[in-house]
Structures are given as C-alpha cells and as structure tokens.
C-alpha cells in the first residue's frame, strides 16, 4: 500500500460510514423527506473530497 493510500484510509472510512449510516439508511426508509434534508450534511463529502484531492495531488507532484 502506498503512503498516500494509507493516508487516505481514515477519509475512506469516514465516507463509508456517512454513505451507510446516513445515505443508505435514509434510502432504505423510503422517506423522501430524509433525503431532502441530506444537504445539511454536505460538508462531510465535500471535506472528504478536498482531503483526498490534497493527498493524491501531492503524490503526483
């Protein structure tokens, strides 16, 4: 495993938890209102994406 992939592990883990406990669990309820309020949690995937971008762009440099 590369150093950068290793550095990204907690971010992947956090994103996986958000995807399971928030997104998938909201979908499973079939309650559209829960999906609508999902926007309040957008900082999570946004921060994860920025973190992954920083980690992997540094690898290319």
């Amino acid at each position: 495993m590369s150093k950068k992939t290793f550095a990204a592990l907690p971010i992947f883990a956090f994103l996986a938890y958000w995807t399971w406990a928030c997104l998938l669990c909201a979908l499973i309820t079939r309650d559209p209102r829960l999906l609508k309020i999902g926007f309040v949690s957008l900082p999570v995937p946004l921060a994860c994406a920025l973190g992954l971008r920083r980690i992997f762009s540094e690898e290319e440099a």
Binding site: F6, Y17, R33, L42
Partner: protein
C-alpha cells in the same frame, strides 16, 4: 529510562485492551441476560432487533473502526492507537452513559429545580455488544469519527493550531450528525429514542445533542494532542492516568455547560420550539 518506556507503553496498552474487553463482556451479558438490573426498555416494534441481525449490523462500524485503528497503529504506534481508541471509548461512553442513566432514573432535576419537568433524555435500542447502556459500536463510532475528523482537519489545515483543527473536526462531526440523527431515529430504524422535552430542537432532535457532538469531538482532539506532552512530563503510566482524568474533567465541564444551557432554555424558551424542514 528510555528502555523502560516501550515496556510501560506495552503494559498500558494491554491494560486498556483488557479493561475494554472486560467492560464490554460484562455489559453485554448484563444488558441482554439481566435487563431488569438497569431497567432496560423493551425493544418492541424495533426492526432488526434479533440477536443475529444486531450482530450483523454491528459488523459495519466494527469494519470501519478496524480501518481507522490500522491507520492509527501506523501513525501513532500501538500505545498511541490504544490511547486514542481507549480514550475516545471511555470519554464518549462515559458521557453517553451519564446522559442515558440520568434520563432513565429521572435524575436531571437533581441539578436544578428548573429541570424538574424534563421528561428524560434518550436511550439506545439495538446493539449486540454493549458498553454500559451504550452499544459498543456507538462508542467505536465515536472513535473512528473523532479519528477521521481530526485526520481530515490535519490534512486540510496542516499548519494551523490544534484548536482550529479541533474546531473543524467538531464541525465535520456535527455536520455528520445533522443527518445521521434524524435518519437513525426514523420509525424504520429507531436506533435510539429521544424522550427529551428540551426547549429547542432541530429536526426534532434536542439542540444540546448537536452542541455535544461539536464539543466532544473538538475537546477530545485537543486532549489527545496534549498526550505526548503529558507523558513526557509525568511518564507513560502516570501520564496515561492523567490523560484519562483530563477526559473526566472535560466530560464534567461539558455536562455542566449543557445543564446550564438546559436551565436557561427551560426558563426562557416558552413554549418549546422545533426547527423542522419538510416535517422532519
């Protein structure tokens, strides 16, 4: 002295592991086999509350926690990883147990007569492994949420102080829970149940819950950042003990702060308000 440090670190790590395993084993037996001891509410009508279903659902956070623990082992070594795991488990587990049991036994009013009308706090329904009256995977989730949030803050703001990183980590955890809580208390899941009549709610969840998420993650990040300095000054064994005492002090401070907020809110926010969107 230097040669003794790894041995001490090993002993402290082992002690934390044994303590966690013992508490989880005892709590799990107590919760499932002797529910009357801690007045465990029945799980009537709660989906996926069979033993096999609860065990399988527990595997999701256990897997995610294992990934973060593996990373912590590589980044901090065995002692640092165990202190993060044990510290976050202990800090959040103690905090949540206090809240759950204060509500269950109607002890909130002991803090102030202003809180005499508080109906309770909350409790968890589903979980195979337990830590007191908290599912062990909830404590494990606190571990990897704290770990990942602080790590992301560290990646995004590497040159800023721990206070800024802790604030960003707390904000990310808060942002997660803004969606997590309404989803998990939905009648389909009922992973935990709020029985609080707190004055201010957001998405039908007490506002103090969100404040708690921010404070718990942020303060733990700051406390863990202080650990190397504490052990450098006091030694590994004594420093580890002081670290856990620091966590208890922070827990007491958060509890006091939220109680004061509760007293003020109950007195001045009448009638109670609930900020909802689309009825959630």
């Amino acid at each position: 002295m230097d040669a003794a440090l790894p041995a001490e670190e090993k002993n402290v790590s082992l002690a934390i592991g044994i303590f966690m395993a013992a508490v989880i084993a005892a709590s799990t037996v107590l919760h499932h086999l002797f529910p009357q001891v801690l007045s465990v509410p029945p799980n009537d009508g709660v989906n996926f509350s069979g033993y096999l279903q609860m065990f399988l659902l527990d595997l999701v956070p256990i897997g995610i926690g294992a990934v973060c623990f593996y990373h912590a082992l590589g980044k901090y070594g065995r002692y640092g990883a165990m202190m993060f795991l044990g510290g976050s488990f202990f800090f959040t587990g103690l905090a949540e147990n206090v809240w759950v049991l204060l509500g269950r036994y109607h002890l909130i009013s002991a803090f102030s007569s202003q809180l005499k009308d508080v109906s309770g706090t909350y409790y968890f329904t589903r979980g195979f492994f337990w830590w007191g009256e908290i599912p062990a995977v909830i404590c494990l989730s606190w571990f990897f949420i704290a770990y990942a949030c602080v790590h992301i803050a560290d990646v995004l703001l590497p040159r800023l102080s721990i206070w800024v990183k802790a604030a960003l980590g707390g904000f990310l955890a808060l942002s997660l829970d803004l969606w997590l809580d309404p989803v998990q208390v939905h009648p389909y899941w009922q992973s935990w149940k709020w029985i609080s009549n707190e004055s201010i709610k957001l998405f039908s969840i007490p506002l103090s819950n969100f404040a708690g998420w921010f404070l718990v993650i942020g303060l733990f990040a700051v406390a863990f950042d202080r650990l190397p300095r504490i052990t450098a000054r006091w030694g590994v064994r004594k420093g580890s003990g002081l670290f856990f005492l620091l966590l208890i002090a922070l827990k007491a401070a958060v509890l006091t702060l939220l109680m004061v907020y509760g007293v003020i809110a109950m007195k001045y926010v009448v009638p109670p308000v609930n900020f909802t969107l689309w009825g959630v």
